[in-house]
Assembly symmetry: C2
Homo-oligomer: 303 residues x 2
């Protein structure tokens, strides 16, 4: 079975929506990514938590992912506090307390180094590069980033980006990175920075896949009730890389059609993530639910 | 051959984009709709122009549509002057000179009354209702409207809407009409107002089709270069109704799959419309180009 190494944050989130507030719930890119990817492949997490990290969250993650690369440090877990707008589309950060994440130095275990797939969730770009370089078994590497690093560490970011196979960004990040408005131009410019596979996410408006000279649009799975958009992008990435890991064969490259199927699973996992707070839905969903929604999504698109 | 009656404006547009300005070019909902629909069915236009309406535009429309219902009045043609934002997504109206359109009283010719399909492009809702009621041969009626009538003539609008089979609105209009943020809730509320088929357009983000209890999302055809978004929505409607007219059979209702194919043609016609100013691309495109893009669109969506 192909393994995915995911480096990134594990967080305690306080999430305020117009309808409800939840405090200190399980969050962080690595949590969302890993729970989504675990439906398809085995996942190793590279992250750090503090002494305050609840045992029940540890057990929840441990059921779905290998936590040997998750350090437990003196101090508090990374805490992210944000408020969503009425339309659940715009998020305002109230507080970012890095705590133990601030000093995090990723150390790859022997088994982590052997993982064929690597997902570099948002971290300082030089740390992403370090993980990539130490992941000696890597066959396919994807990365994410945020506006903060595009603004403040552009050079380091471009260096890391030149080493990865693919990037997953949202529309605002893609525009900021390339200084282009049209997202198709953005995607092509990001190709020129190195990544052969570019995914630009547009939240409820779906996403664009750039690969092999093609631009392929995908609508989001239509949802009438969205509870909490936190983690949708990382769950999306987990579905995408998870499916690719599942079908991975040594010495065979995924086809465009494989990438499209992976994008469908990505949309499915993103849509599940937003149907409840925290990782609740990803943690409770069954493989049957995932497959059912995948079939529904494909049926929606069939002309 | 099934005929479509389209009532709506024929305009002279002044369109200002960050890259170029064109003055007094052929515009208006009826022009865009009819040229797009003419690829699939015969179209009768119900509209009005002034004495200043250029002969070359008349001839252009006459080649593709029946103009017996287009009145030529003393005075000037409806003139619309607008400026697009840098991202070509937001439009600001500079001037709306209704001119002869202000006094327009639609009068249906005998052949117009026999049309099986009716498209009520934006007009005062009571005039839309009058056209609908006089179109005795009607089998399928769609309507569009704008924020102005949602704000100022809500009751008349709701009355007209209760008589049509389908509506085509953009996201802002749908939200304003229903007082809902989530577009899926919007679509369901609009169903409750009467229309069995609801289409919510999201510009470059594609659109949603509501029909028979289903919500079906469609991405827009990806375009790297957009010249002028004017008329995209009406060209979209022209592709949609045009295709449905082409496959129309007495006493057989279109299936969800028919509506999906129609939505694909709608996206194709909308994407063609924005690739040049005015109706230029719609007027010059060939059936082969339309079919080629349709196949490309279907291939993009195939998982």
């Amino acid at each position: 079975m192909t393994s995915i190494l995911c480096s990134g944050s594990i967080a305690l989130d306080t999430t305020r929506t117009p309808f409800k507030t939840v405090e200190n719930v399980l969050g962080g890119a690595a949590s969302f990514f890993s729970l989504a990817a675990s439906f398809f492949a085995s996942v190793h997490i590279l992250s750090v938590v503090g002494k305050d990290f609840p045992e029940e969250y540890w057990k929840l993650l441990e059921k779905k992912a290998n936590l040997n690369g998750v350090q437990k440090k003196e101090g508090k877990t990374f805490h992210y506090d944000s408020t969503f707008s009425f339309d659940l589309y715009h998020r305002q950060t109230n507080k970012t307390e890095l705590n133990v994440l601030g000093e995090f130095e990723p150390v790859l275990t022997g088994e982590a180094k052997k993982c064929e797939f690597v997902y570099l969730a948002t971290m300082p770009p030089e740390k992403q590069l370090k993980v990539l370089q130490e992941a000696k078994g890597r066959k396919l590497v994807f990365m994410d980033t945020i506006e903060f690093y595009i603004k403040t560490e552009r050079n380091a970011l471009l260096k890391t980006m030149s080493h990865v196979d693919g990037v997953v960004l949202n529309d605002a990040e893609a525009r900021m990175l390339t200084d282009e408005v049209n997202l198709i131009k953005c995607g092509k410019k990001i190709h020129a920075l190195g990544p052969k596979i570019v995914i630009i996410k547009k939240g409820e408006h779906g996403c664009l896949l750039f690969h092999d000279g093609k631009v392929i649009p995908f609508p989001a799975f239509p949802l009438e009730v969205i509870i909490d958009p936190t983690g949708a992008g990382d769950a999306f990435a987990g579905g995408f890389l998870g499916y690719l890991a599942k079908i991975f064969k040594q010495d065979t490259r995924p086809t465009t059609q494989d990438f499209k199927t992976a994008m469908a699973y990505a949309n499915v996992m993103g849509s599940l993530a937003v149907e409840d707070f925290s990782v609740n839905k990803l943690a409770s969903a069954t493989k049957e639910e995932v497959e059912k929604r995948f079939r529904e999504y494909c049926e929606l698109l069939r002309i």
